[in-house]
């Protein structure tokens, strides 16, 4: 549990992010933690050296809406999530198509832990290559 943490859902995410923008927060970064069964996606915002965090719990196969329409700077880190964790991020302002940090022949979604039930290979591939 981080200080100043607010749990959000996929539906409330964009509103909350927009609210942070209104309050004059600066986008810092997005962190993804693979919990094995779900992902924890943490959105960090900063104002006057105090962090404000949004925590989104994301199912392993769910889409993640991009916040790049609100904070353009998020586009790079969201592409990184897509590459390293194989999370399908939708509505990206610039979509590198899974080739942001990785290239052809790289391991697919290297930071993603093996899916709990003996793999749904289609899903993994889908998310990463897309």
């Amino acid at each position: 549990m981080l200080n100043n943490e607010l749990p959000v859902t996929r539906d409330t995410l964009l509103n909350e992010v927009a609210a942070r923008r209104h309050q004059g927060y600066r986008f810092v970064t997005v962190t993804c933690v693979d919990l094995g069964d779900r992902f924890d996606i943490l959105y960090h915002f900063d104002k006057d050296y105090v962090l404000y965090n949004l925590r989104l719990s994301l199912g392993r196969t769910e889409n993640l809406p991009s916040i790049s329409s609100i904070f353009f700077a998020a586009v790079l880190v969201e592409n990184e999530l897509k590459d390293l964790f194989g999370i399908p991020v939708t509505d990206l302002a610039i979509d590198y198509g899974g080739r942001f940090l990785l290239s052809e022949g790289s391991p697919v979604a290297p930071q993603r832990k093996p899916d709990a039930p003996p793999a749904q290979p289609a899903q993994t591939k889908d998310g990463a290559v897309k």
Partner: protein
């Protein structure tokens, strides 16, 4: 006349010490659009924390970057100390500040040299690096290595600086001050350097805030934000002045960094004078449980470590957001409209550190 060509700037390019590609869409010699392509040196360091214990990862964190190495390891250690509720001795906090600020001088000098090289001013390049050599020698004398200091550990620092060493630091700082007094005004007032930097790569205050610029890039655009203000390590006791400019161009960024170099020297002097005696580290027992976001101000801006431990000796997750990553988006806002000749200058003005960006 509007035939568009795409120039691949990089991944191997004389101006770039590290591989990154900028696809520059050009109209004649004017840049219309720029798109970065990274991933040439992605090393998967974040994954490696799952394999190494948290003490070994101090060295791993140090190797995220080849320039601000020490500050990476300090951020990591500060994060773990927060999770594990460790209070480090005063002397360790001061030593961290001294090494950190000396490191900042070395990083800024390196940057100044590279910037000069980007507009073909070799003599400034050589001189900046000659000054940097004094700093690196100082680091080697006090810490045992020129860049990879290897002096951080969770709970303090590994190595003490003797009184003789402190005197050595003061001597070197004075020598550097003398060099800077002669050299920095020359660089800042040079006609040809002004021609190449004033008004080039403008970033307004609004853009900088919007795109989340950090470090000297933000400060050169008039945002007085410097994480050292929060007083981590010994910054609270030593105190410092934020250097800001308002023009937001390459010249302002150069001026901010030059001003910071002076400020670093002053801080080192004050820290040496106020150096408390005592232990340099405290033993740390047990394994980290919990999560934390650790931040501090690197030469390039604010770095962020997200650390999560679950009671095992290996961390569950480490995530690093380096300052260059945050400054990439502002860079893309600076490039359109500039001339090809200005691209190297603008790219270098954010002080890109690609290998830390990709980790």
């Amino acid at each position: 006349m509007s035939k568009r060509t795409i120039i691949p700037f990089g991944p191997q390019h004389p101006v770039l010490p590290e591989p990154i590609q900028l696809r520059l869409v050009m109209e004649e010699e004017r840049v219309v659009e720029a798109l970065p392509a990274v991933g040439y040196i992605h090393r998967g360091l974040e994954k490696l924390v799952e394999k190494k214990d948290y003490n070994q990862c101090v060295f791993l964190a140090e190797r995220v970057c080849g320039i601000c190495s020490f500050l990476h390891s300090v951020t990591y250690c500060q994060g773990l100390e927060e999770i594990m509720s460790v209070t480090i001795p005063d002397r360790a906090r001061f030593l961290r500040l001294i090494w950190g600020e000396v490191h900042r001088v070395h990083s800024h000098l390196l940057w100044l040299g590279l910037l000069a090289d980007s507009f073909g001013f070799e003599n400034v390049f050589m001189h900046a690096w000659r000054c940097r050599e004094m700093v690196l020698d100082l680091l080697e004398r006090t810490a045992g290595h020129r860049v990879m200091l290897g002096v951080s550990c969770v709970g303090g620092v590994r190595r003490d600086i003797s009184d003789e060493g402190l005197a050595d630091i003061l001597r070197t700082v004075d020598a550097l001050q003398k060099e800077f007094d002669e050299f920095v005004p020359v660089v800042l007032n040079d006609y040809s350097i002004k021609q190449r930097t004033v008004g080039v790569g403008k970033l307004t205050k609004e853009q900088a805030a919007e795109l989340g610029a950090v470090g000297p890039v933000a400060r050169a655009s008039g945002i007085a934000r410097d994480f050292r203000e929060t007083g981590y390590a010994a910054y609270g006791e030593v105190g410092f002045k934020i250097v800001t400019e308002t023009a937001g161009d390459c010249y302002a960024r150069m001026k901010v960094r030059c001003g910071e170099m002076y400020e670093c020297l002053n801080m080192v002097r004050r820290a040496v004078a106020a150096m408390p005696a005592g232990a340099i580290n405290v033993p740390v027992k047990g394994n980290p449980t919990g999560e934390v976001v650790a931040r501090l101000e690197q030469p390039r801006g604010e770095v962020i470590y997200y650390l999560k431990g679950n009671g095992a000796k290996n961390l569950e997750r480490m995530r690093i957001r380096t300052p260059t990553f945050a400054n990439l988006a502002p860079l893309l806002a600076m490039l359109p409209g500039c001339e090809l000749a200005d691209v190297p200058v603008i790219v270098l003005s954010i002080d890109p550190c690609i290998s830390c960006t990709e980790r």
